[in-house]
């Protein structure tokens, strides 16, 4: 079975803090994705990576950055957290085939 894990299920941070969300997949997948999910807005793509050290902006990259130093790990970074970044963050990965497999999600609250 494909396994995608995320470092935290729940996270509470203060405004202005630097926040790291980690995602690890164990299936040697080439592509990895970060989404955020908000009520009424659905899943929105923040960034994706198609290879180590390669990344592309998604639909809502503002306020976020990413890092992919190893194939199995994709990190989402909030340089200076703000309250409007309170959300559910979902990581996904896929091989050359189409299906994306999701992690369990991180519920981030920024106070």
């Amino acid at each position: 079975d494909v396994k995608v894990t995320q470092s935290s299920r729940y996270l509470v941070k203060r405004t202005g803090e630097k926040v790291f969300l980690e995602c690890v997949q164990d299936m040697d997948h080439e592509n990895m994705f970060w989404y955020r999910q908000d009520p009424g807005l659905g899943l929105r793509l923040i960034y994706f990576s198609y290879d180590v050290k390669m990344k592309e902006k998604g639909d809502i990259p503002e306020g976020y950055s990413v890092s992919r130093e190893k194939k199995e790990r994709f990190s989402l970074i909030l340089e200076s957290a703000s309250t409007n970044q309170t959300s559910m963050y979902l990581c996904a990965s896929r091989l050359a085939a189409d299906t994306q497999y999701f992690g369990p999600g991180t519920r981030l609250t920024v106070l």
């Binding site: 995608v4 592509n31 994705f33 009424g40 659905g42 899943l43 793509l45 994706f48 198609y50 592309e56 998604g58 559910m88 979902l90 896929r94 189409d98 299906t99 994306q100 497999y101 999701f102 992690g103 369990p104 999600g105 519920r107």
Partner: protein, 113 residues
Amino acid sequence: EDQVTQSPEALRLQEGESSSLNCSYTVSGLRGLFWYRQDPGKGPEFLFTLYSAGEEKEKERLKATLTKKESFLHITAPKPEDSATYLCAVRNHGSGNTGKLIFGQGTTLQVKP
């Protein structure tokens, strides 16, 4: 503009009452349509991928079908454990090798015993 619309937004069924969820899409060349199930507070769980009109896939009480404009997720004799939000997503030709998906808003299904 590529778009995915799911209906209804919410659906309440009695246990055993069969029904269908709809996913309508407008994309510039379909490269795949995906169904996911999402339980509250968890990540989406992959169910099916459909690639061409006429294709059907089944898993337990769920059956997904695809036409040129929409997909249906049929739920036969649902049980309370089928309660979840069902997400539909499409991939278009413009996504290249990125695998980028366009998601619908989801249908929240509640099955009462």
